[in-house]
Structures are given as C-alpha cells and as structure tokens.
C-alpha cells in the first residue's frame, strides 16, 4: 500500500447494497467486548470510507488524518453501543465520521485553517475527487445524483460533502430556507430510491 492519501479504493460490496454482509455489525459487537482482532477487521472495512469522507469534507489531508483517527477510536470506544435495530453498521460509522468532520469544520479555528489550505490544496483535491468519482460505488451514486434536480443535488452535496449547515446552504444558493429543507429531503428520498436502499 503506497502512502498516497486519497488514493481511491475498490470495494467489493457497496454498503447497504445487495449482498452487503451484516458481518460488519457482528464484528463491531465483538470489538465492543474488547476483541482487538475483530476491531482490526472492522478497521479494514471502514477506514477507507471514514478517511475518504473526512478528507472530502475537510480537504486538508493532515487534518483529515487527525479526525479519521478520532473517528476510528470512537468506533472502538463506543462499539458496545452500536444498536443494529437502528440501522446498518455502515450508516452508524458514516454518521460518526460525518459528525466529527462537521464539528471540526464548524470550529472557527479550523474554518480559518481550511480557508488557508483550500487554495493550496485545490489542485490536489480536484484530482483526488475526480479519481475517486471515476470509480467504484461512486459510479452508481453519481448516476443517481444525476437524476436529481440541480437544487436538490447542490443542497445535498454542499451539506454532506461540504459540511455546511442548511442555513449556510440556503445562503450559498440564494434560496429560501424552507425550500432548501424540502429539497434536501426530496432529493435524499429520490437518491434512496434510485440506489435501491431499503
């Protein structure tokens, strides 16, 4: 494995898709009982998603690595509290990762750092993003994003990948808050149906 941050990874099963095993949930339960070997398997399965998402939101690879480390330790610390009845293990991990990334973005200091970094990182970031989007699961996700209206898609992408609050999204798009709220929901519902999420 080359030490290139942001290198896209092929995943055999899209999370939540057909054939995606519930194995991850079972491994997390085992990890919750202090089983480090199980946690190692959990790490292999989730680290690329965690790091990729955090990098996408934060853009700065150094900060992304810090936050990804916090997220993966959260997974270890709180593994016993994962409740399978409330959703998939993938969704549980992604929620932790996204919250941590957004918390970092919303701390004022990090925002300043991100703004400083973004100019310098812009080229790298675009390359990474394009390479990632050209592959894997993202093919399907991108195709499905393409079925949304422009406002639905922009609202979702700015909120999720940009880490903006819905008020900030409304300001950025020059759209009423109520409209953004409903477009986020309509858009996600359409995306859910297009991806065949159950």
């Amino acid at each position: 494995m080359a030490d290139v941050p942001g290198r896209p990874v092929r995943m055999d099963h899209p999370p939540g898709g057909p054939g995606w095993p519930d194995e991850l949930g079972a491994l997390i339960k085992l990890a919750g009982r202090g089983d480090e070997q199980a946690f190692s398997a959990v790490y292999e399965q989730v680290a690329p998603t965690v790091f990729g998402l955090v990098l996408r939101v934060l853009r700065d690879p150094a900060q992304a690595e810090e936050v990804a480390q916090e997220v993966l330790l959260d997974v270890w610390r709180t593994a016993s509290r994962f409740e399978p009845g409330r959703g998939s293990a993938q969704a549980w991990v992604a929620t932790i990762a996204h919250r941590r990334a957004v918390d970092r973005v919303r701390s004022a200091e990090a925002s300043a750092r991100r703004d400083d970094q973004s100019a310098a990182q812009q080229t790298d970031y675009d390359t990474v993003a394009e390479a990632v989007e050209a592959k894997l699961e993202s093919e399907r996700v991108r195709r499905c994003l393409g079925t949304l209206t422009e406002l639905q898609r922009e609202s979702i992408v700015l909120a999720y990948y940009g880490g903006y609050s819905y008020r900030e999204v409304a300001d950025l798009l020059g759209t009423a808050l109520g409209t953004v709220k409903t477009r986020m929901r309509d858009g996600l519902i359409r995306l859910r149906d297009c991806l065949g999420v159950t």
Binding site: P14, G17, T95, Y160, S165, M184, R192
Partner: protein
C-alpha cells in the same frame, strides 16, 4: 426566517413542517437547537424514525462513494491508541439476538448459566432450563437488574412470577430502543404470556416530584401500566404489563410522581408493539 410556524397554524402543519427536517437531519446539517427539536419529534413519530433510518443509509452510500485509502500511518496511530483506550460499557447489558446474525449467542448462554449457577437470581433458575434463544439475552439484561434489585423482587413475588413467565415464553421477543433525551428502554414481549416486561437504563434524571410513567395505548384507549421504579445504578427494575391488545403502543411520559390518569406530557418513548 425561522421555521417555527405561527400560533394560528394547525398541529398538522407544524408536524408537516417538522417532518421536512428529516432531510437536513440525515445530512447532519441542522444546528443543535433544531436537531434537538427534531429528535424529540422523532421519538413520537415511528414513521419519521423509519424515514430517517432510510435516509441515513443513503448518506452512508454518499460516504462510501468517496472512500479513499488512508496511509499506513493512520492504522499505526489508531492501534497504538486502541491498546491504551478504555471502551465504554454498553448502554444496556445485552442486545437482541436476531437469529444467526449474532456470532456469540453461545457466550450469552454461558453467561446465563454462570449467573444461574451462582444462585443469586431466584427467578432465573427456570430460565436456564430452556434452550438458547432471544429470551436468554433478555435474561442476561433482566438478570443483571434483578441482581441489583433483588430485595425489591422478593417483595413482589407475584410480579416476579409474571416476569419469569414473560422471559421464559417461547415467543419472547426483545427490543432495545433509544429514549428521547438519553438512555435506553428494553422491552421483552410475549403474545403467549399476553404480557411484556419493560425496563430502562440511564434515563435522564428528573426533578423532585416527577417520575416516569408507563402506558399502553391502543384501541381500548390509554391504560397506565404504572410508574417506573427509582433506578439503581442507572437501571430500573422490570415493570410488567399484562392484557395486551393488538395495535397497542408502549408510551413513556414524565408525570407528577404520584402518577396521572392520562399522559400530560409529550412521550419520551413511543413504540409500536
């Protein structure tokens, strides 16, 4: 500007308005105040909770679509921390055993056997005679509570008996649910025993003069099951409800400590049976 509707809006409108927050909520785009408001709504709206679940699975796909390989350094750092990071205990002592999805049912069985052999749980003995199943996990949960509240149980032999009947019923089914504001509720229900056992872990503390009251709501109307006992070590000993009807829901509200004839506050838990 704020999404709060005016007073002249009907309840229905307010609900519809709240409902649209499911999108920004699943995207983690709500400020804390709106998020808390929506989470209160979620507890009382099983359809919304189900929608949020589906939308969260969808955003997880957005996350997977942007996967990128981290450096090996990340792994080294994480595992260096893992060896010196203490894990949090579970919110409740067990999880539902949904068939073969659970790798470690055998461990649960062993744990129950150990507890029964230690003889500290008078009611758990018949439980151990029956083969493995979801109720064994339930027995671990309630067993640990019974340990804490043993004296209370021995004071209530009748309830004790009913509790054992629910837990040992072949169709006993256990569900864990998060409670709005924090904590978990555990329900073990049996149609054969026509009863359910309810317990909770780590519910938020209440001001003096207030207590949690448990209700059944359904076609026959609202029935108070009773007040939750004071928690010991964060857990409340099981409360048994009998006389279930199809279409019943379990509801938990905060009421004056003496109890109310009808719920007087928004439920912190609402669960369809």
């Amino acid at each position: 500007m704020r999404s709060f509707p005016g007073r002249n809006h009907s309840l229905r409108l307010r609900r519809a308005d709240l409902h649209t927050l499911a999108g920004p909520y699943a995207l983690n785009a709500l400020p804390p105040r709106d998020r808390e408001r929506f989470e209160r709504h979620l507890a009382a709206c099983p359809a919304c909770a189900e929608e949020v679940r589906g939308l969260r699975e969808t955003t997880a796909r957005l996350a997977a679509a942007t996967a990128a390989a981290p450096t090996d350094r990340l792994k080294e750092k994480v595992f260096a921390e893992v060896t010196r990071t203490r894990q949090l205990p579970p919110v409740s002592a067990g999880q539902p055993a949904a068939g073969s999805r659970w790798l470690a049912a055998d461990r649960w069985v062993a744990a129950v056997r150990r507890r029964v052999r230690s003889g500290r749980q008078p009611w758990a003995r018949p439980v151990a005679l029956i083969a493995a199943g979801a109720f064994l996990v339930a027995a671990v949960v309630f067993g640990s509570m019974a340990l804490i509240t043993q004296h209370r149980l021995s004071q209530a032999q009748a309830g004790d008996h009913m509790l054992a009947a629910v837990l040992t019923a072949p169709d006993a089914k256990m569900t864990d649910t998060a409670v709005t504001g924090g904590g978990t509720a555990t329900i073990v229900m049996s149609h054969l025993a026509d009863a359910l056992a309810f317990s909770s872990a780590h519910l938020p503390g209440l001001p003096a003069g207030k207590a949690y009251e448990l209700w059944l709501m359904g076609p026959p109307g609202e029935r108070s099951v009773g007040m939750l006992p004071h928690p010991a070590h964060g857990m409340t000993s099981p409360v048994v409800a009998t006389g279930l009807h199809s279409g019943d829901m379990v509801e938990l509200t905060v009421e004056p400590a003496g109890g109310s004839p009808h719920p007087t506050s928004a439920p912190v838990l609402l669960m369809v049976l």
